[in-house]
Symmetry: C2
DNA sequence: CAAATATACTTAACACTGTTAATAATTTTA
DNA sequence: TAAAATTATTAACAGTGTTAAGTATATTTG
């Protein structure tokens, strides 16, 4: 291994150490409570050292968001082998919601915060959200396949994909933001609250089935 | 007017002055960029004076969120006079999305931030989200009426209401958070981006119509 | 091998943030 | 008018993201 390669490796090492510490704090203490100084303390370096590896805090958030995207993507890619397209669509929806519940930190970072998208907007400008796009692409492909199976006849694929994403994202984000818990009209107990996503999703699926 | 009433009035005056300044800054400079000190400067008082009228920053956010709720509610209440239930349901959906677009500051405060719900959680505990509930109640009532008209037969009203809310909230929040703009797969121009909400909403409506 | 250079890191500092305690000014009550 | 209560302020604390300047450490060059 050449010296330059070693340096690069060291740099990547430091970057991932910082990222790992950031993720740990994000999960343990929440996204707001995580500061550059706390991350630095976790890695046992000076706060300013972080700026040698990440441009600013948003850069860290963005990097973490990318990690989340690729995690979600790998979970989805497994499902692409499901034969029946509509079954695959259901599986994707379930996996998406399950991701939101099991990885709330990642989900907030990826889909509920403005920062990563703003970072993309400022940094570069003509860049687009590649990681997000790749996941969305799988949804589009699956819905196209569903049309081959006779579902969603004559409907616009992009619009339908967007609508499906909106629905599950709406469920996930209202759940994670704590809005559902506060609704007296729903007043579900702890147990019911966990079931809500399932019930609402099932209703949506049954609606989709009817428009074969 | 008794002296005590005067005092109360003065207190309410100060509260609303602070709130007005907070709202102005929220709209003009964004939610993150608004600090207690800036609000104080806007009202021309000392920063600490604010703490005589609001417990903390979250209290201000919560108060502002309540203002937004009642604005949305009055917009909705007008629509309650629409005769046909399904037409009313469509009108509610449109009004909701229009609210998100025309009042993004309020929308973020009300439905995308965790703070107001957390404030409700901590403060009191057995309190519930009354203002949100009142708006949601209108949706529930309308969907019930739709069932009278023959729509959504045998479907659970609460689940369906939640699903409808999730859908429009998903659309609105993905739009406002800037996620849609970054999707290469959608690559809509400025003009198309404005149309997206409309198109996706129409598709959802047409889906609902099919399950009469 | 020694000097020069580049790399990695740290300390000190700036301009902010939300918030509290102590203090001053004002107004109301007795 | 004196006492009490209300209203507002200043000073300060502990924290934030971030930058500039300085210091070791390693690497390259003469």
């Amino acid at each position: 291994m050449s010296v330059q390669e070693k340096k690069l490796k060291h740099k990547e090492d430091s970057r991932s150490k910082i990222l790992a510490a950031a993720k740990k704090l994000f999960v343990e203490e929440g996204i707001e409570a995580t500061s550059i100084r706390k991350i630095a303390k976790e890695v046992d370096i000076s706060p300013t050292t972080i700026y040698l590896y990440y441009k600013d805090k948003r850069d860290i958030v963005y990097a973490l968001h990318l990690e989340g995207c690729s995690l979600l993507r790998t979970r989805m890619e497994v499902l692409m082998h499901v034969d029946h397209a509509f079954e695959r669509l259901k599986a994707i929806g379930k996996a998406y919601l399950s991701f939101a519940v099991t990885e709330p930190g990642y989900y907030e970072l990826m889909f509920m915060m403005k920062e990563p998208m703003q970072f993309l907007d400022d940094h570069g400008g003509e860049d687009y959200w590649e990681e997000g796009d790749r996941v969305f692409e799988m949804l589009i492909a699956t819905i196209k396949d569903c049309q081959q199976e006779g579902f969603f006849k004559g409907m616009d694929v992009q619009t339908l994909s967007l609508q499906a994403w909106s629905t599950v994202h709406g469920m996930a984000s209202l759940f994670l933001s704590g809005h559902l818990k506060q609704l007296n009209n729903l007043l579900f107990s702890e147990a019911l609250e966990a079931e809500f996503l399932e019930r609402t999703f099932q209703l949506y699926v049954s609606m989709l089935e009817r428009i074969k």
